[in-house]
Amino acid sequence: MAGDTPPDVAGFTCPAPLRDRPQIVMGHGGGGALSRDLVEHIFLPAFGNPVLDRLGDSSVLDLGPRLAGGGRLAFSTDSFVVRPLVFPGGSIGELAVNGTVNDLAMSGADPLWLSAAFILEEGLAIADLAAIVARMAAAARMAGVTIVTGDTKVVERGRGDGLTITTAGIGIVPPGVDLGPHRIRPGDAVIVSGTLADHGMAIMSVREGLGFEAAIASDTAPLAGLVAAILAASPGVGMLRDPTRGGVAASLNEIAGAARLGVEIDERAIPVSPVVASACEILGLDPLQVANEGKLLAVVPAGSAAAVLDALRAHDLGRHATVLGRIVAEHPGLVAVRTAIGGSRIIPLPLGEQLPRIC
């Protein structure tokens, strides 16, 4: 999956001239001919499918036999703002697809349909929009979801952030899948699917004034494939979380709080790539608190940890999966880390924005 060739955005050209306008103007949000141009020349060529192509006010989805036998609907939504819009390893387009796909997958759902709403800032280059839409379409194909409805608005220059995207998604939870804190027991293993902090540090590395010599790429990726592999390997999975904003620190605190149990992790087990570890050291950031966009945490019974690890490692996105720690009966609601040196400390819920330290 992740080995697919990324879309060739450099070679993009509009299928037909967009009335010769290289930039978004207020009229593109007016609901008239310019709006229609955007739909016909940007969105449909990228996202087109039989449901979307009908261009109705809403899309009617045929669930067929999917809900038979006790399957349930999963429904989620998420908004995306990021600066810069395109960064090493991805763009706001991949984030908008993978973010909602992953939120659905964490309930054990098979993600199927997405909506996509765009708020465009006047002056945004249409070529930039088209490139991001192309990346979004490629991400949707990779995740196996269809974009079935959408919307576009334009805001005045200076009143938007270039481009913001909101996606909502529907997936189906297969019969028998039941995830939640009620399934977690002391002794369960906490597994992470790969290296931490890649996305957050990739963004920070390209923000104004911060250039690391080694490239750090975002890990944005759809996780439904990994989830299916985990569910197949272990019937007793307790909880799944994708540690995005607030990082693993926030997700583990959520798990500990929801299960009213403690979490204990081993500092030496925390997987961080050398270049990300160095960048975090330089800026005084804790990789546990930095965002990921293509990793998951799985709480599974200790007895099936080995099977889940094997299943994850067989998958391209889970090659570096490892056991991070365990659920304990002690210190309910708290996350403790055993330091490499032999001490311990509590990992708090991150407060807010991550701030580099002075020295």
């Binding site: 040196i341 032999g342 509590i346 708090p348 701030l355 020295c359």
Partner: protein, 361 residues
């Protein structure tokens, strides 16, 4: 990261801790001066490895923590002005002034930016001649050379729209103030490695002699810190009080002389108020008279601003080592990182925040 892994080896750490346990015969209180050292001690749980006789006292070396409320209020007043871009290091943005922090000024429309070097602020001034760019220059001797270079650069380029709000503080006067304070319990100091890399170690032998206190220049990694503590305990048990350099891979006796020269040209000594502690004579730097035109306090006429600390906040006692953070009545109650009463609860280098984040309530 290989060079860091070498200084975090768990087996060597346990050996050093065991060695300290073997040589110690009675209680000693050792102060780590620098906030970076406090952060590392708590993050790695080093104090949990030490024998009960060795008590670590967290010193006043977090630059964010000791920057006086008055300076923060001045920065806020400047940042609120139209046409001003105020630049600072990240964690200064969250330090509360008398009624708000720089984040709040930014949310209200002020132009407040995080930079990673004062030279970035000079570049902003160069690129935006229509704006007044002010850099909040705080910190110990460590950050002073870059700040001095920024001023020299602005002077050379005759940038009329760049200035510095200076609140530099110095380590040796702080050590003197702590040793002279009534009720002082400090038996030995771990001097800050980064400060010493700039200033050298030559300032410390007279202090060690005058106060009969061992001073060990110490780094920041777990093994650096344990080795510094070990050497301090060896001296204390032997009744010696000398300067030792336990961080020779970075620190020399003379220090970084070109950096000292540029500091000497751009800055001049001044009595400085330390947040929570009070005024310490000749404990800070201001811009030298030759560079007074780059002084933001004069340019924006904020010299009249004064401020009063919250009476609940005991950060002064914490910074002097008289109180552990979790012994403060407000700790974790009125005062948390979300609602900090004092700066020691703000910066991750602050002793109160370090305790709070490590769950040491």
């Amino acid at each position: 990261m290989k060079h860091l892994a070498e200084y975090r080896d768990a087996d060597t750490a346990r050996r050093l801790a065991a060695e300290i346990g073997r040589i110690v015969t009675r209680p000693w209180a050792i102060m780590e001066v620098c906030g970076g050292q406090t952060h590392s001690i708590i993050r790695h749980g080093l104090d949990q490895l030490l024998p009960p006789e060795v008590e670590l006292i967290h010193g006043p070396g977090c630059p964010v923590c000791v920057t006086p409320l008055e300076t923060i209020d001045k920065a806020l007043a400047i940042a609120r002005r139209p046409g001003v871009t105020l630049c600072s290091f990240g964690d200064m943005l969250r330090v509360p002034g008398s009624c708000e922090d720089l984040f709040a000024v930014r949310a209200a429309g002020g132009d407040v930016r995080v930079v990673y070097s004062p030279l970035d602020a000079v570049a902003l001034a160069r690129a935006h001649p229509e704006r007044q760019v002010v850099f909040l220059a705080i910190g110990f001797e460590t950050t002073a050379p870059a700040n001095a270079m920024a001023v020299k650069l602005a002077a050379r380029e005759r940038l009329p729209n760049f200035s510095l709000l200076v609140s530099h503080v110095l380590v040796p006067p702080a050590i003197r103030a702590i040793m002279r304070s009534p009720g002082n319990r400090v038996n030995a100091f771990l001097a800050a490695g980064h400060v010493s890399s700039v200033m050298g170690t030559w300032q410390y032998p007279p202090l060690a002699r005058e106060f009969g206190v061992p001073i060990v220049v110490t780094g920041f990694e777990p093994l650096d810190l344990l080795e510094g503590i070990r050497r301090a305990v060896v001296q204390l048990e032997a009744g010696r009080h000398e300067l030792e350099n336990a961080y020779p891979r970075v620190v020399t006796e003379r220090g970084n002389e070109p950096a000292q020269a540029v500091i000497g040209e751009v800055f001049a000594a001044v009595d400085r108020a330390w947040r929570g502690i009070g005024v310490i004579p000749a404990s800070g730097w201001r811009l030298a008279d030759a560079y007074a035109e780059f002084d933001a306090e004069q340019r924006f006429d904020v010299r009249g601003i004064t401020a009063v600390e919250s009476p609940l906040c005991k950060s002064g006692e914490v910074l002097k080592g008289a109180l552990k953070p979790n012994q403060c009545p407000a700790f974790g109650k009125e005062c948390t990182p979300r609602t900090p009463l004092g700066a020691t609860m703000v910066s991750t280098e602050g002793a109160c925040a370090a305790y709070y984040h490590a769950g040491r309530t």
